[in-house]
């Protein structure tokens, strides 16, 4: 029986080929738009995430400094005692992170961790002649720093790996270099808060396109930084940790924070505005793709409905000859499947083509050259499955209605 129904479905599809093509196009359009919009949204999101994580890591371990001691007197002398203390000073007993080796080993053991890098961060004045600019000097572990922040890909001149061997070398942000009127191979003078002044040679310039970073940051080798600060070879001020999925930092933080005597902070807590941005973009992406689903689904439904309404008289004739409601449903579902599959396949191809074309539109801002685009198999599969389901539902609803009416109701008109 199925063979006969399939034959009828085939004749329906091929006899009015124009109409079948319109139906297929309806599905194609919906699915390609879904694919394209999702690829675009994902591409934009990925770029945003990438930009955000050029300057911050997923988890940050650092010495939070001494507790708030502004009301120290009240802690010691309770009650009505007249005390006069002038110029109260905070004595910091520990600076930076101690036992770095142990902490590094502990963090590396966590299965989610994909990278960790120690830093010695110092606030310094960058000087060239009478130009003085306040900024951050990062003493870094060259390889590991690059693994986490991918800084080598932002180099505009010089090479990142040079820091490895040049203990007198410094790598500057592009805007900082411009403000100091310095170029590669020029000399730069650094002045630390402790009053130490030292000359370095500029061996590279980077541009992350995050302005705050580009105009106030410089890198030197971590050993040189320790030397500059007059510290031992274990001295570290910050540990930057990256995990496999940047969204999921909490389990790692919860596990290591109790055993590490320093502040362990995920990017979500330290940069809530970034997290809010990321969440909002996700919500927008979902809202947009849901809207496309609805609009495309409604279009597909309309076209299927129209196709079936045109065949309503034939349905009546078939039923008069003894075809059951199930046969009628089968005939139209078969057509819906064919339309859905063909439309879906073409839609995926068209979606890819549109995405690829848009991906070549120039967009020169924030380090981008072209509009961003993501090509994820998941988007394509979801679009196809959605298209097929919508087409099936859109074919099934009117078919079921048609399968239930008395044939004479249609024939009599």
């Amino acid at each position: 029986m199925l063979a006969t129904n399939l034959k009828i479905a085939k004749v329906h599809l091929t006899s009015k080929i124009k109409q079948s093509i319109v139906a297929v196009l309806g599905v194609t359009f919906g699915i390609s738009m879904y694919v394209f919009m999702n690829s675009f949204m994902t591409g934009v999101n990925d770029i945003q995430t990438e930009l955000a994580f050029t300057s911050i890591s997923h988890i940050h371990i650092y010495n939070d400094g001494p507790p708030d001691n502004t009301n120290l007197v009240k802690k010691v002398y309770k009650g009505n005692v007249a005390i006069n203390i002038r110029n109260a000073r905070v004595i910091q007993y520990t600076e930076g992170i101690k036992n770095t080796g142990e902490i590094l080993a502990l963090v590396r053991k966590q299965p989610e961790v994909i990278g960790i890098t120690p830093q010695v961060n110092i606030n310094v004045f960058f000087r060239n002649g009478s130009n003085k600019i306040n900024g951050t000097l990062s003493g870094v572990d060259v390889d590991n720093e690059n693994r986490i922040f991918n800084i080598a890909s932002y180099m505009t001149s010089g090479s990142w790996n040079g820091l490895q061997y040049r203990h007198d070398g410094v790598i500057l942000g592009l805007d900082l270099a411009h403000q100091l009127s310095l170029n590669i191979n020029d000399n730069l003078n650094l002045l630390t808060p402790d009053g130490v002044s030292k000359n370095y040679k500029i061996i590279g310039i980077f541009q992350t396109n995050v302005k705050n970073v580009d105009k106030s940051k410089a890198y030197i080798n971590i050993s040189s930084a320790r030397q500059l600060m007059d510290k031992n070879q274990d001295y570290v001020t910050d540990l930057q940790v990256n995990v496999r999925d940047f969204e999921i930092t909490e389990p790692v933080v919860a596990r290591i924070a109790p055993v590490i005597p320093y502040k362990v902070e995920s990017w979500q807590t330290s940069n809530q505005q970034l997290e809010a941005g990321s969440k909002l973009r996700n919500i927008i992406a979902q809202a947009v793709s849901l809207t496309i689903l609805l609009v495309a689904g409604f279009g597909i439904y309309n076209i299927m409905n129209m196709t079936i309404n045109e065949k309503i008289r034939e349905i009546a004739i078939l039923k008069a000859m003894g075809f059951s409601g199930r046969d009628v449903t089968q005939i139209f579902l078969a057509q819906a499947i064919v339309i859905g599959v063909i439309g879906g396949l073409i839609g995926m191809v068209l979606g890819f083509v549109i995405a690829d074309v848009v991906n070549h539109i120039p967009f020169k801002l924030g380090g981008l050259n072209y509009l961003p685009m993501a090509y994820r198999v998941k988007d394509y599969l979801l679009a196809f499955i959605f298209g097929l389901i919508t087409t099936l539902v859109a074919g099934y609803l009117p078919a079921r209605k048609a399968s239930k009416i008395d044939p004479v109701d249609i024939i009599r008109g």
Partner: protein, 225 residues
């Protein structure tokens, strides 16, 4: 139940609700014997077509009861009725009502393919026989839409006969045919009743056609007179 009765309708009442409530059939009862050739006549609006559609099981919203070949059909589900029509009732409409995108032979074969009791080869053979009987064997592979009105009507008859139904019903089956074709159709119907004991009920406006049949049931204002 009398074995000679092919079809029995009891106190059939039918209303139309559009545009306003109107009683089309007022407790109509008829009995048709096996092998009988019955003509339903009457003015338009007398309810004869409505009655025929109820007898054919294609209209299920009525009061009263209907049985064909001793089995009660009133109250059965649409799908059961469809299966019953497929096997036991052949219907010829006033207009041909062929599937115009299919070839003539496919149109004739469809009800038998649905019944699925014979092989495809046997069905095809039988379809060719029916077409030959109606003088259409050389049109078999044409699209149904390419035939003339008279030819289409005869294809519809060939289709109605494909499953050897016990009852054949026609809603003015010769309404669009010239006198020569009308005679051919009448002769075929007559022969079916005589040789195969198939029962025939047709609505007709053609007094000649009706006059030659076994029995004329005349209707007026929803009643049999």
């Amino acid at each position: 139940m009398n074995n000679d009765i092919a079809l029995k309708a009891d106190h059939i009442v039918k209303y139309f609700y559009e545009p306003q409530q109107f009683q089309v059939l007022k407790e109509v009862s008829i009995e048709v014997k096996k092998g009988e050739f019955v003509s339903l006549t009457g003015k338009s609006g007398s309810g004869k077509s409505t009655l025929l559609y109820i007898l054919s099981t294609m209209d299920t919203s009525y009061e009263g009861s209907l049985s064909i070949n001793g089995g009660i059909l009133t109250g059965k589900s649409q799908n059961e009725l469809a299966a019953f029509r497929n096997e036991h009732i052949g219907f010829v409409f006033q207009f041909h009502y062929l599937l115009t995108d299919f070839s003539v032979i496919d149109n004739v074969m469809l009800p038998a393919l649905k019944l699925n009791k014979k092989s495809k080869a046997e069905i095809e053979e039988k379809a060719y026989q029916n077409l030959k009987m109606l003088g259409l064997e050389d049109q078999a592979l044409k699209l149904a839409s390419k035939l003339s009105g008279g030819q289409q009507q005869r294809v519809a008859i060939a289709r109605a006969l494909i499953n050897d139904p016990s009852v054949i019903m026609g809603d003015e089956p010769t309404g669009n045919l010239d006198s020569k074709n009308t005679d051919i159709v009448f002769d075929i119907f007559r022969e079916l009743t005589l040789t195969r004991h198939q029962t025939i009920i047709t609505v007709t406006h053609d007094d000649d056609f009706a006059g030659k049949s076994d029995r004329i049931i005349q209707m007026s204002d929803g009643l049999i007179i």
